[in-house]
């Protein structure tokens, strides 16, 4: 049973549209992450947050933006979707209390931009 929720699960949208991918967790975790994953490929970190009002860009350049106004909520926004944004987006969170705290993942959002 997932304690971290992503919506929508699947999204097909036209080029130029603005979209927001939602991610919420109920575990009280301070650290949250967004990863981009192409089918059968590794995960690339695009954004992360260590707490409220804290956001950083990850290793993979992304045209998306994130916000962290509440601990439990970490939405990702694309202002103008393009076909190159077609991918799976995984949200994850982890505890701050221990360094070996593992990542807890959501089910992912599979985005297709036509």
């Amino acid at each position: 049973e997932a304690d971290i929720y992503q919506t929508p699960r699947y999204l097909v949208i036209g080029t130029g549209k603005k979209i927001t991918l939602e991610c919420s967790q109920t575990m009280g975790h301070d650290k949250m992450y967004w990863y981009q994953q192409d089918p059968g490929m590794e995960l690339h970190l695009i954004h992360y947050s260590y707490g409220v009002n804290s956001t950083e860009k990850g290793d993979l350049s992304s045209e998306s933006t994130v916000s962290r106004i509440r601990t439990e909520h970490f939405p990702l926004t694309l202002e103008s979707a393009r076909p190159s944004h077609t991918s799976q987006y995984l949200c994850a969170s982890s505890e701050s209390s221990s360094y070996n705290s593992p990542l807890h993942f959501g089910n992912g959002t599979r985005l297709t931009v036509t």
Binding site: Y33, M41, E42, L103
Partner: protein, 115 residues
């Protein structure tokens, strides 16, 4: 640069047999943590097993165990008594103990357990 290499893109194993997935990594850090994650088809990615680099003893979790060779920077996963539910993508990852809490993932190994 910190990297994780999984040299086996795909593997298969017969049900009830044992399989080993390889993982090597590169880092100049001394304190770090290693993980294996499992991503079943169309399902949530979950933690399989984790290892602290400062611990010499290999971690075990039921049918899953690791062979951690720090000097060789190797972190392989052994699955014993393979079950159909073990069919998944397996990702090796490490996290540097430097306060950034960023994880580096490998490209994954697709494991198929055959009936």
């Amino acid at each position: 640069a910190q990297t994780v290499t999984q040299s086996q893109p795909e593997m298969s194993v017969q049900e009830a047999e044992t399989v080993t997935l390889s993982c090597t990594y590169d880092t100049s850090e001394n304190n770090y943590y290693l993980f294996w994650y499992k991503q079943p088809p169309s399902r949530q990615m979950i933690l399989v097993i984790r290892q602290e680099a400062y611990k010499q003893q290999n971690a075990t979790e039921n049918r899953f165990s690791v062979n951690f060779q720090k000097a060789a920077k190797s972190f392989s996963l052994k699955i014993s008594d393979s079950q159909l539910g073990d069919t998944a993508m397996y990702f090796c990852a490490f996290m540097i103990h430097s306060g950034t809490y960023k994880y580096i993932f490998g490209t994954g190994t697709r494991l198929k357990v055959l009936a």
